[in-house]
C-alpha cells in the first residue's frame, strides 16, 4: 500500500474513531474543568456543554459540521518540500514526517467543495495540529488553487483560519505566501465572487495580516485569540500586563475589525443565509 494511501486511511481512521467513541470517553473542559462525554460534546458542535467553550477542532470536524459526509476534497495531494534544508533542533524533513504520522494530515490546510442548502461553496480549513497551523508554501498554494477553482466555477469561498502564523522553517517562502494569497484574492474581488473569512482560535501573525483580514466579510468564533503579534511578544515589548480580553474576538468586534461573531452551532445557518443573499450579486460584470 502506498504511503499516501496509508496517510489518507489514517485520517479516516481518526474520524471513525471519534464517531464511534463510546459514551464512556470523557472530555474535561479546558476552561471550566467540567466533565462531559465525547458524545455530548460532539452533539453540542464540539463546544463545552457546560460553558460553551469552543474546543479547537480540525478540518475533518468543520467539513463534517458544514457538509456531513457529502463533500469532495480538492488538491489533497500537495505536500511540503524542505527547499531550504532547514534545521533547528530537528531537521524540518524529520519534523514533517513526524507530523504526517502524528496527525494523518499532509499539511496545515485542507480544501473541500460541498453544498450548504443547495448552494455550492469551497472551504479551505486550517489544521492547528499540523505545526501550529503554520502557513508555508502548501497552505499558500492550496488557497491559490482553491481561488482558481472558485473563479472557474463561480463558487463562493470560505477560509477557516486557525494558525500561529508563518512557518519559520520555510522562512521567506512562508512570508511570500502573504503576498501570494492577498494578490490572488484581488481576482475574487474583481470577479465579484464573495470571500468569507472565519477566524477561529487562534489566528495570529502572517495569516491574520493577509487572507484572514481580507474577507468581503470577516467573522470569528466567540473568544478566539486573533491578532498580529502574539500576546507574549507584546508583553515582552511593552513590559506591562495586557488588558483583560485583549485580542479576543469580542475585542476585535469592539474595535471594528469583525462583521460579527458567530457561535459554532449557528455557523451553517449563517453561511446558508449569506450564500442565498450573495447569490443575487451582480458585481464583477
Amino acid at each position: 500500500m502506498g504511503w499516501f494511501k496509508r496517510l489518507k486511511e489514517g485520517i479516516q481512521t481518526a474520524t471513525k474513531y471519534k464517531k464511534e467513541a463510546p459514551d464512556g470517553l470523557w472530555y474535561k473542559c479546558k476552561r471550566c474543568s467540567e466533565l462531559s462525554t465525547s458524545k455530548e460534546v460532539k452533539a453540542n458542535f464540539h463546544k463545552c456543554p457546560k460553558c460553551n467553550y469552543h474546543i479547537r477542532i480540525g478540518s475533518a470536524e468543520y467539513f463534517d459540521l458544514l457538509f456531513g459526509e457529502d463533500y469532495e476534497e480538492l488538491f489533497g495531494n500537495l505536500i511540503s518540500k524542505d527547499v531550504l534544508e532547514f534545521s533547528d533542533l530537528k531537521p524540518y524533513k524529520e519534523r514533517l514526517a513526524q507530523q504526517h504520522q502524528k496527525t494523518g494530515l499532509l499539511d496545515a490546510i485542507r480544501v473541500a467543495k460541498g453544498k450548504i442548502e443547495e448552494h455550492s461553496i469551497v472551504v479551505c480549513c486550517m489544521d492547528f495540529t499540523f505545526i501550529g497551523g503554520s502557513m508555508g508554501a502548501v497552505v499558500g498554494e492550496k488557497i491559490s488553487k482553491a481561488i482558481d477553482h472558485c473563479l472557474e466555477t463561480h463558487t463562493p469561498l470560505l477560509i477557516i483560519s486557525k494558525s500561529g502564523g508563518a512557518r519559520m522553517m520555510e522562512a521567506a517562502f512562508s512570508l511570500m505566501q502573504m503576498a501570494k494569497t492577498s494578490a490572488k484574492l484581488t481576482l475574487m474581488a474583481r470577479a465579484g465572487i464573495p470571500y468569507f473569512s472565519l477566524m477561529t482560535d487562534p489566528t495570529t501573525g502572517g495569516v491574520t495580516a493577509s487572507y484572514a483580514m481580507l474577507g468581503d466579510l470577516n467573522f470569528a468564533e466567540p473568544e478566539a485569540l486573533i491578532g498580529f503579534a502574539g500576546p507574549r511578544v507584546i508583553k515582552e515589548t511593552i513590559k506591562r500586563d495586557l488588558p483583560e480580553g485583549f485580542q479576543t474576538s469580542e475585542f476585535l468586534l469592539e474595535h471594528g475589525f469583525l462583521d460579527f461573531i458567530v457561535d459554532r452551532k449557528d455557523l451553517r445557518k449563517r453561511l446558508a443565509d449569506l450564500l442565498i443573499m450573495f447569490s443575487n450579486a451582480k458585481a464583477g460584470s
Partner: protein, 379 residues
C-alpha cells in the same frame, strides 16, 4: 489671549528642538507647513562622535586604522617622511577590508544591515531626488514617524517615494520608534500609493524595519488589517511599484510596503519571515543561536535571489553602504532609474497581471500520487 494655534506651535517647536537638537543648523521637518528641509546635518548618519564604528568582525581594521592615525601624527610632528608608510598601510587596509567583505557570513550581513551609520530612507531621498515634499498622516488616526513618504522629482519625473525611517541618535531613534511602524504608518503608505495611482506616478518603497510594532494600540487599531490591506491594494495598484530592501526586511512589517513589480535587496541586507534572534528564541528556545538561525533562514540577498523571491541584488561600496553613503545613493538611483524605465511603458492591466502572476508562482512544494482519486474515477 489664548490661541490654540500658538500653543500648538510652541509645543511643536519645543518638540522638534527636543528631537533634532537644533544645534546642527536647523530642523529637518516643519510640522506646520508639512514641508521638509532636507538637511545633511539632520539626516546624514555621520561618524558618531567623530569616530568610526567598527563591528566585531571589523576589529582587524580598527587596529590598522589606529596605526594609520599614529603614523600620520608622527608625520605631522617631526621631519620624518611617512608618505610611503601611510600608502602601504592604506593599501593594507584596503586588502583587509576586501578579505573581510568577500567572506561575510549571514549573521555579519545582518549586523551590517543594522550598522548605526547605515544610510536610511530620508538620506536616500535627499540624495536621489531633486524635489521632495513630505506628506504626513493616514487621514484616519495620525501620522506615523516610522514610515515617511511623499512626492518627489526623480530624474525629471514625479514619483511617490516612501520607506521605513530609523533615527540616528538616541532621541530620534525613539522618535522613529526604531523603524517599527504602527497601523497608521501602513495606512499612510497606502494613502500615498493611491495618490500615486490617481495621478499615474510610479511608486518607490525603501524597506528597513526590524518588524511592525507589537503594541497594545497597534493591535487595537488593526496592525494585521493594515498590512493585509496594503498587500491587497499593492497587488492591484495600476502604477509601477519598485521596492528595495535597504537594511532590515523583517516579516510582515517589511512586506507591508514591499509588494512590487520589482523587488531588490542591497548587498548587505536581510529579508525573512522573522529576525534571527526571535527565530533562535522560538526554535532553539534560547537567544544564543542567532548566528545559526541567520544561516538556517537563508535570509541574505544572494539566497533570496537564488530562490527567485527577489529580482536582483544592488551592490554596495566596499565596506558596506555606510562606508560611502553618497556612492551608495548614486548606485541605488541608477538602478531605480533603469528599472522604472522598463516598467513605465507596460500598460497598467498587463503590469498588474504580471505582478499577480509573479507572486502566484512563489512557493515550492511536492505532490504525492492521488491513487484513491484515480480509483474512484475508474470505478
Amino acid at each position: 489671549m489664548y490661541s490654540p494655534f500658538s500653543i500648538l506651535t510652541k509645543r511643536i517647536i519645543k518638540n522638534s528642538e527636543k528631537i533634532f537638537g537644533l544645534a546642527g543648523g536647523g530642523a529637518g521637518e516643519c510640522y506646520l507647513c508639512g514641508s521638509t528641509t532636507l538637511n545633511k546635518a539632520v539626516f546624514r548618519n555621520g561618524p558618531i562622535n567623530g569616530t568610526m564604528v567598527f563591528l566585531d568582525f571589523e576589529k582587524p581594521l580598527e587596529s590598522l586604522y589606529e596605526q594609520l592615525e599614529k603614523i600620520k601624527q608622527v608625520g605631522e610632528e617631526g621631519d620624518l617622511d611617512v608618505t610611503v608608510m601611510v600608502e602601504e598601510l592604506e593599501e593594507k587596509i584596503r586588502r583587509k577590508r576586501e578579505e573581510i567583505y568577500n567572506n561575510l557570513t549571514a549573521w555579519q550581513r545582518v549586523q551590517l544591515s543594522r550598522h548605526p551609520e547605515r544610510p536610511y530612507t530620508l538620506f536616500y531621498i535627499e540624495q536621489m531626488c531633486d524635489r521632495f515634499v513630505e506628506l504626513f498622516g493616514d487621514r484616519h488616526y495620525g501620522d506615523d514617524k516610522a514610515i515617511v513618504g511623499g512626492l518627489a522629482t526623480f530624474e525629471g519625473q514625479t514619483i511617490v517615494i516612501m520607506g521605513h525611517q530609523k533615527g540616528t541618535n538616541t532621541k530620534t531613534r525613539q522618535y522613529r520608534n526604531f523603524g517599527m511602524a504602527n497601523p497608521e504608518g501602513y495606512r499612510k503608505a497606502l494613502r500615498l500609493m493611491k495618490l500615486a495611482e490617481r495621478f499615474g506616478f510610479p511608486v518607490v518603497t525603501l524597506i528597513d524595519t526590524p518588524g511592525a510594532y507589537p503594541g497594545i494600540e497597534a493591535e487595537e487599531r488593526g496592525q494585521a488589517e493594515a498590512i493585509a490591506r496594503n498587500l491587497f491594494e499593492m497587488a492591484q495598484l495600476k502604477v509601477p511599484i519598485v521596492c528595495v530592501v535597504i537594511g532590515e526586511g523583517a516579516s510582515g512589517g517589511a512586506i507591508g510596503i514591499g509588494l512590487g513589480d520589482k523587488v531588490y535587496m542591497l548587498e548587505n541586507t536581510w529579508y525573512s519571515v522573522i529576525s534571527p534572534e526571535s527565530c533562535s528564541s522560538i526554535l532553539w528556545r534560547s537567544w544564543d543561536y542567532k548566528e545559526k538561525a541567520a544561516e538556517a533562514l537563508k535570509l541574505t540577498a544572494r539566497d533570496m535571489l537564488s530562490f527567485g523571491l527577489i529580482d536582483g541584488i544592488i551592490k554596495e561600496p566596499l565596506g558596506g553602504a555606510h562606508s560611502d553613503p553618497e556612492a551608495m545613493a548614486e548606485i541605488l538611483k541608477n538602478h531605480i532609474v533603469k528599472t522604472l524605465g522598463t516598467l513605465t511603458p507596460i500598460p497598467a492591466d498587463e503590469l498588474v497581471m504580471n505582478r499577480i502572476n509573479k507572486y502566484s508562482s512563489m512557493g515550492v512544494y511536492d505532490t504525492v500520487p492521488e491513487d484513491e482519486e484515480v480509483e474512484e474515477e475508474s470505478a
